[in-house]
Amino acid sequence: MSSVVFYRFYSNNPALKSSDQYISFQGTGITVFELKREIILQNSLGDGSHFILKIYNDPDTAETSKLEEIKEDNTVIPRSSKILVKRLPVERQSQTRHGISSFRTVDSTRYISGKPKMSATGSFQGSA
């Protein structure tokens, strides 16, 4: 059986039909990892090195109107859900190793060429 998850890019006008897009898959749900990968491929966003893709619960379906990021790669999004997507600039995180500080960039390449980051429960925010 084929299932879908609906999504819209945050900047796209919700009143326009063309803003609503979807990803189809088999089964009752899709992991965040798979979903992000499919969205990157569907929108020809390349190898994921020029941005970070973040997904959020859709404010229409949430109890509060606050956007909540769905962070964990192994969280399962149930079929027929609606989510919001943001394409954001790569993040530069400062790090200090052996007393030398430098910057590490965080992007979305792992969705194309890497593996999901696993967290213990998939529903809590874990820090790696």
Binding site: F9, Y10, S11, N12, N13, P14, A15, L16, S18, S19, N43, S44, L45, G46, H50, F51, V85, K86, R87, L88, P89, E91, R92
Partner: protein
């Protein structure tokens, strides 16, 4: 007894967020917020990417909050995502640009959505990367309002004044007054007088925040005369030895300046070069169509070109020694010639086709005169590679033996011009944009050491070089108001 009570009336925050063009050259787009007003500066695309990847990071900001969008000039890295903003997002604000920018935008964007040179320059027109249609474009055109140089428009309490920026026809700097705080956005600007444009002006107002381009960082340019001489003698030498010269150019803007130089040089060397001995071609249908736009706005150009127009009574952009080619089908490549062709960064299209044809011959010359963005073929060529990938078939490598030279006529300020301008503007807050990280960082250091003596004084100068998505916060303290209390 009399005592003085200091009362702080208000503490106001100015915010700057780069959605694009911060620590990069391309997809210029910035948001500024102050006193509940929101202004967006430019809506460009990034020339090294395609489709959605080329857009500024519009998901960073709720565009429905924007009161007004100011477009600095018609280059695609400043304007080409405007139809997208107007048609696909919930942007509801007003859009302002100068008359010539609007006139050229119309032609450019029409070309951009069709499968022609400029479409190839930035986006491939297929189902996945077609960002907008002809209809989107026509609709967007009706929403654009125009502003004259030196005139002020007031929009919901924001006062906007346009000044000459040099750079290309129609380019504007915007001075924005929100509740007495003045912001100046330079866009791309130049301070040297060239053959057809006015150089950038210094607004006669106290500026609090300067948002300024930093393309060339701390690099300095040779004088204009030297560069012109180098250009003409390189070209002359090459054709004399039987070689061909390719000048990849963006269809409009700096190309017209290069043609003014070449046309004059050909006239001076008529015996050797003229009468079709060494033809100059310009493979741009678009440029031909825009000839009358350039004529229409001659009154916005400098005195030299206006005088030339008055004296000859003919369009100075209608060149004697340069012929327009609609496409390459009727181009007979028989001997030495000079070819101007777009796109300027050789990603695809006519200039790429000619490059692949001419680059195996050591006698030929590719002369880059514009700014080459990171990640494009023009930038790659500058490293003098032995081979280049074929556009049609990227697995095939083509030998590169031709000479590659760069002489810039990009019309951005160099370090000394930028420094001089920044000192004259005398703003306490400087936000650098439109520059790759390294040159931008160098410019920041140079500015900080220049203004070192003001450190920890009232006039301390702060320089910001934010990345896309990183907010710059500037606090404005209303002057402390001293109230006399008592008798």
């Amino acid at each position: 007894m009399v005592s003085v009570k200091n009362k702080l009336i208000e503490n106001e925050n100015f915010k700057f967020i780069g959605l694009g063009g911060s620590n990069e050259v391309g997809r210029s787009c910035h948001i500024i917020e102050f006193k509940g007003k929101t202004i967006m500066l430019d809506a460009g695309i990034h020339p090294a990417y395609r489709g959605m990847l080329s857009l500024p990071f519009y998901d960073l900001y709720d565009l429905s909050k924007v009161d007004v969008l100011l477009i600095s000039h018609f280059h695609l890295d400043h304007v080409a995502s405007l139809p997208y903003v107007l048609q696909k997002t919930n942007f509801k604000g007003r859009v302002i640009m100068t008359h010539p920018t609007k006139a050229i935008y119309r032609w450019l964007m029409r070309d951009f959505v069709k499968v022609t040179t400029i479409a190839d320059e930035f986006l491939v027109r297929d189902d996945t990367s077609n960002l907008f249609t002809d209809d989107d474009l026509i609709n967007s055109f009706d929403k654009i309002e125009t502003i004259d140089y030196h005139s002020t428009i007031e929009i919901s309490g924001i006062k906007i004044t346009a000044y000459h920026a040099g750079h290309v026809l129609g380019a504007a700097m915007f001075q924005i007054d929100i509740g007495g705080i003045n912001i100046l956005f330079t866009g791309d600007y130049s301070r040297e007088l060239d053959r057809h444009l006015n150089s950038a002006e210094i607004p006669n107002k106290k500026i609090d925040i300067l948002i300024v381009e930093s393309t060339f960082g701390t690099a300095t340019q040779q004088p204009r005369k030297t560069r012109e001489k180098k250009l003409t003698s390189l070209i002359h030498d090459t054709v004399k030895k039987g070689g061909r010269v390719l000048l990849p150019v963006f269809a409009l803007g700096r190309a017209q300046e290069i043609m003014l130089i070449l046309d004059e040089y050909w006239a001076q060397n008529n015996d050797e070069l003229g009468f079709g001995k060494v033809p100059i071609y310009y493979a741009s249908d678009l440029a031909k169509k825009c000839l009358n736009v350039f004529q229409t706005y001659i009154n916005m150009m400098n005195d030299n070109i206006r005088a030339k127009f008055r004296d000859s009574k003919s369009n100075p952009f209608n060149f004697k020694h340069i012929s327009y080619l609609k496409n390459l089908e009727n181009f007979r490549d028989l001997g030495p010639s000079v070819m101007l062709a777009s796109p300027g960064m050789l990603q695809s299209g006519v200039s790429r086709e000619i490059l692949e044809k001419w680059c195996p011959d050591f006698k030929n010359l590719v002369l880059i005169t514009g700014y080459s963005v990171e990640g494009t073929m023009a930038k790659f060529l500058m490293m003098q590679p032995d081979t280049i990938p074929s556009y049609e078939n990227p697995d095939v490598n083509i030998t590169r033996k031709c000479r590659v030279e760069e002489i810039t006529f990009a019309a951005h300020v160099d370090f000394l011009e930028n420094l001089d301008f920044i000192e004259k503007i005398n703003a306490k807050n400087i936000i650098l944009v439109h520059g790759e990280s390294t040159p931008m960082g160098r410019l920041k250091s140079a500015l900080l050491s220049k203004f070192k003596h003001l450190k920890r004084t009232e006039n301390e100068v702060k320089v910001y070089t934010p990345f896309n998505g990183v907010t710059v916060d500037i606090k404005f303290q209303r002057d402390k108001v001293a109230t006399l209390v008592g008798t």
